[in-house]
């Protein structure tokens, strides 16, 4: 059962990602080595710790795994799960990349949407998938999130979102960029109807996601140590030829500069979100 939910990340496509490939230890148990404290932790133990190292480093987590730890058992009901991307502008290699991404992570696209309960609180939920083309947003990701906000607005539901994305998906050209505006419109309508939206920014949240729905929530939570920004750090370094300050674009940096409300470590997220949902229950107009 656990094996089905906690799939081992197949991150061949994610070179440069932060999850090191599990290495085979002497006793043949898979371990993951923390890039911060260099401790090798058995994968099974890491899963019990929600993929958080003892030193506090947060390894990446796939979307199903998040859903499993976040939502009340049996409460998650997926929406728009049948939408699949296709090569709409004739971009070389895109069909193959899509197929590989689907095979690698077992998801049809880079976001999972649905309704669920977090603790006792019903909500609409989107969770982005880091192992599907680094969570990049094409038309299907944009469409699913837009539909979710529209559904939540119709049903007066709060939205809880988890972002992880390299930004807009260049293989869909300008139509990817248009998704930023499209989703923003739906977020706005949901908000104007008095509904609550909380987002958790996880590593990495960059580009067009930061420049749209990641920054449009009523309450913005960040996972510790996540990279959050508009332009990628490497590009800034290359362009400006300046040394970047320590901790540049990390959650703590974003908190210090006033762009996130709070940082919540993964083991405490469920309780924090449930409390926030309770604090934002719709009240009858006086």
């Amino acid at each position: 059962m656990l094996n089905k939910i906690f799939r081992k990340p197949q991150n061949e496509l994610e070179k440069g990602g932060r999850v090191p490939a599990p290495t085979v230890a002497e006793d043949a148990e898979l371990t993951s080595t923390c890039p911060i404290c260099k401790t090798a932790t058995p994968v099974s133990q890491l899963w019990e710790q929600l993929n958080v190292c003892k030193c506090g480093y947060h390894f990446r987590m796939n979307a199903r795994q998040r859903l499993h730890v976040l939502t009340a058992p049996g409460s998650f009901s997926e929406l728009y799960g049948d939408l699949e991307s296709r090569d709409i502008i004739g971009f070389p290699e895109y069909e193959r990349k899509l197929k590989n991404a689907q095979l690698a992570c077992g998801e049809k696209e880079a976001v999972i949407c649905g309704t669920a309960k977090i603790g006792e609180m019903p909500c609409a939920l989107f969770v982005m998938e880091p192992y599907f083309m680094l969570g990049s947003m094409g038309t299907v990701v944009g469409e699913k999130i837009t539909r979710l906000f529209e559904y939540a607005a119709e049903n007066s539901l709060p939205v809880v979102g988890f972002t992880v994305s390299g930004g807009a998906r260049m293989q869909e050209g300008i139509l990817s960029l248009m998704q930023m505006a499209k989703v923003s419109g739906a977020v706005r309508r949901h908000s104007d109807a008095g509904n609550f939206y909380a987002v958790v920014l996880t590593d990495p949240t960059t580009g067009g996601i930061t420049a749209s729905f990641a920054m449009e929530a009523d309450i913005i939570i960040a996972e510790p140590g996540a990279t959050i920004g508009f332009t990628g750090a490497r590009i800034i370094e290359q362009t400006t030829r300046k040394k970047l300050p320590d901790g540049f674009q990390k959650s703590e940096f974003m908190l210090e500069h006033g762009f996130v409300d709070l940082i919540v470590p993964r083991p405490k997220q469920k309780a924090a979100i449930e409390r926030l949902l309770k604090l934002h229950e719709r009240r009858a107009a006086r």
């Binding site: 070389p92 094409g138 960029l177 930023m180 706005r188 580009g207 920054m215 508009f230 762009f259």
Partner: protein, 261 residues
């Protein structure tokens, strides 16, 4: 037959008229208004109030600068968060006084830098996208040169978007795209084709409503054509009930990539 990359080069060409030339060529009584009321005035965005054939409008233009001195002063048309916040401030002002907003876009992209990140480049763009979607006054955006990604989109959540024939609009610069795909920025020419970034592609994809010929670029004829079309646009949109205007704007973006099923 010119390639996509030829158009990219034309859009970036030296001597191509930049934002403030359009303001001067089309409007009268322009008064520039400065600052985001938070941190600074961004010189890459020129904005203010003016008259379009007698009627007040709010005009916002990304300005690249034409000679080197002006380019440096304008930061080569790369806006900082303050530029987008200034634009939004003046859009809200336009909404209050019920005057249309007209934007000119010409940028390789928003500033990429340490300060821009510290002051929330992503947040500034996000706020514009969300606020423009429900701004209760007509918005028109015209692409006059480069349309670089989120930095261009931040002034383009409009009721209509128009483009000059050699302007382009892209999710990523062809050079960066080539660098990511093939680790070779020199293959930008191929990437330009693949990205479908030209005005005819934009028209086909429904991303822009009008493409204008560049005959007489920088001269009174083109400014005159744009001005006449603008007057028609303003008359048409100002006559709509606000709810209809906003519904149509929402649907304009809602339809992009509405997958079947």
């Amino acid at each position: 037959m010119s390639t996509a990359y030829d158009k990219v080069k034309l859009a970036r060409a030296k001597g191509r008229p930049t934002g403030t030339r359009y303001i001067r060529g089309i409007f009268t009584d322009f008064i520039e208004l400065h600052g985001d009321r938070c941190f600074a005035d961004d010189t890459a965005i020129v904005a203010g109030v003016a008259r379009l054939q007698g009627d007040p409008v709010t005009v916002i233009a990304i300005e690249k600068g034409m000679d080197l001195k002006e380019k440096v002063y304008r930061n080569f048309g790369a806006p900082n968060p303050e530029g987008y916040r200034k634009a939004l401030r003046l859009m809200k002002q336009a909404e209050k006084f019920r005057r249309p907003v007209i934007c000119f876009v010409d940028t390789a992209g928003a500033v990429c830098g340490i300060g821009a990140e510290e002051r929330g480049q992503g947040q500034a763009i996000a706020m514009n996208l969300m606020e423009m979607m429900t701004l209760k006054t007509p918005i028109l955006t015209i692409f006059i040169g480069e349309g670089g990604s989120g930095g261009a989109l931040a002034l383009s959540v409009a009721d209509e978007v128009w483009m000059l024939e050699n302007a382009f609009y892209s999710v990523i610069s062809p050079e960066s795209c080539a660098n990511i795909l093939w680790r070779d920025p020199k293959r930008a020419q191929e990437a330009s084709e693949d990205l479908k970034l030209t005005s005819d592609n934009m028209r086909r994809l429904g991303v822009v409503e009008h493409v204008f010929s560049e005959k007489g670029l920088g001269g009174g004829e083109l400014y005159g054509t744009l001005k006449n079309e603008m007057i028609n646009f303003v008359c048409g949109k100002m006559a709509l009930p606000v709810e209809t205007l906003l519904q149509q704007r929402y649907e304009r973006f809602r339809r992009f990539g509405a997958a079947e099923g």
